[in-house]
Symmetry: C2
Subunit: 338 residues, 2 copies
């Protein structure tokens, strides 16, 4: 695939050469892909990442990249200096595991809500006009009562992670309405691609499917495999993050998903095809703790971001998985890292 | 007014004589009114209240009432013993000031979200089958995009208090869906009546209007007075809390408001009439910090709780305000207490 870098009405590749960008969670999956793109276009990038155990952050994700790294939680006072002169803050830091949020609800609320409240207070004090793009999750909707799910669909999360992420998202919008801070939040659906932590079974089904297939192991699908999801390649998400710096997006919550959805069985088959795995797939019964917080089928309605910012996901599942397989074949440490 | 104590399909007056009830925030406005009712019907009542400065809790609200009082935050370990043998927990503890939540966002998130997460973890550990009724607020909806506002209306709070209360509410529902804990949350609109803290200007317009009129002072209305609200008398809210212990309400979020709404100018006139105040009223410009977090007109749709539980508010604004004025005339300390 050739990336066209079409930032639409948001930051353009040309703009980036003179911008100071802060990426929180920048050592993680999406944050590191964003950082690579920003550096490629000449931005000055500062990464803030707490490297919380098991959350996907890894310095190797930005190995050789010319970025400054501050190892801290985003709510810590040390962060103030780093954000004081920033033009754009991409606020991606957070805990992403649904299961972990149930084992440690206070830990999830700390990382996804409280730290963001502290961070917004820091921004309000030292740099209240900085452009802020925050990443939320489609998990805030819970079990859909209609499909596809647009931004006005009720939010009734099924796990603590969804509750905490929604609160973090809403805090960003309150700081816009109450203080005119230029914030935007994106509700991301299932994202896959290079630099994702593959070794955990708790960060979503896509990294598990990809790891198993790359290792030639059998993919296990919970239930009957008929449940549907739309999956977005990480480069498309990076496009959405850049597009969302446009003035039109200020004060908005926008879904980021894919127009085409697939059943889990189809997704597993596509992963097996992309990786050439001999492991195959098997349907297995749901583990109880997963089933209780499962949301069933979900298809994202991305009309609002398309109409507001001109963004839509352009990478097909097959193309994205092919690029993903190539990346991990040449970066095998992702398969064994814990 | 004669209270009929019509608990519909929830706890009945007869049931209460053998129940152990915990009321968190029981020294506050709604909690103390609930505690009085519970004791009147023979329940054993334990109150947990942190008596946070300025939040409405006051031991005088339950003076002479046969209740046990534990002065603690609801997330503290000492609470475990108090809830271990409870039949019903009415979880009313929280911070209610919208303005205070903007001055101290972390304090509001602590009281309305984090403490409730800790409390739910305690309940899950020591008494996972206890019936829990939590109070949320119509503030979670933000500025209505349609009227009247039903429970499926999108939630986009305009202040930190709304964000934190919504997260607290959603945690209760997650503990139902994930752990089968029998929880319910009620979204209350503007409540008035006896035992409300009148001396603060930060706990809503109703206590301010009532205090000013009782003191013969002029009521100030922000803006043009055309903004509309539905107001509920506290005894009706106590009815709703008792009705919501019905099995039908488990796992539900229910609006609690009044079928009849009024403009702020009409409400002020009704307060002046009920109190016989000579102070009159005046329209004044909005203070900036209030206007930024204001939600405009709001009318609650209470169809769901009426159809599910048979509850509806039965006290008219005039009747409720008349009873309110009588109460405060005979309890004058409310007018001077800080």
């Amino acid at each position: 695939m050739t990336r066209r870098d079409p930032y639409h009405r948001g930051v353009t590749a040309g703009d980036l050469s003179s911008t100071a960008c802060v990426v929180t969670g920048g050592l993680g999956f999406i944050g590191s892909n964003l950082s690579h793109r920003l550096v490629r276009h000449g931005a000055n990038v500062t990464i803030i990442d707490a490297l919380v155990d098991g959350h996907g952050g890894d310095r190797r994700n930005v190995e050789g990249l010319d970025v400054e790294i501050i190892e801290a939680e985003i709510g810590e006072p040390v962060v103030a200096d780093a954000v004081a002169d920033a033009d754009v803050v991409f606020n991606l830091a957070g805990q992403v595991s649904h299961i972990a949020s149930m084992h440690d609800p206070l830990g999830d609320l700390h990382l996804n809500t409280i730290c963001h409240a502290s961070f917004l207070e820091i921004l309000r004090r030292v740099n209240p006009t900085v452009r802020v793009v925050h990443t939320s999750t489609r998990q805030v909707y819970g079990k859909p009562i209609r499909q596809p799910v647009d931004e006005l669909h009720p939010t009734r999360p099924m796990d603590v992670n969804g509750v905490a992420k929604l609160a973090g998202e809403q805090l960003h919008l309150v700081y816009h309405s109450a203080y005119d801070m230029p914030t935007t939040s994106l509700r991301l659906t299932n994202v896959y691609g290079p630099r994702q932590r593959l070794s955990s079974d708790e960060l979503g089904f896509l990294p598990v499917f990809i790891r198993k297939s790359l290792l030639g192991e059998e993919i296990h699908i919970f239930g009957d495999g008929a449940q549907r999801r739309d999956c977005v390649y990480v480069d498309d998400v990076v496009d959405a993050l850049l597009a969302s710096t446009a003035p039109e997006a200020i004060g908005m919550v926008l879904n980021v998903g894919h127009a085409v959805d697939h059943s889990l069985a189809e997704i597993a088959a596509a992963v097996i095809h992309a990786t050439g795995s001999a492991g195959g797939l098997q349907l297995v019964p749901w583990p109880g703790d997963h089933q209780r917080i499962d949301i069933g089928s979900f298809h994202t309605d991305c009309t609002l971001i398309a109409e507001s910012l001109g963004w839509k996901a352009t990478t097909s599942l097959d193309d994205g998985l092919a690029a993903t397989a190539i990346f991990y074949r040449s970066h095998p440490w992702y398969l064994s890292s814990t």
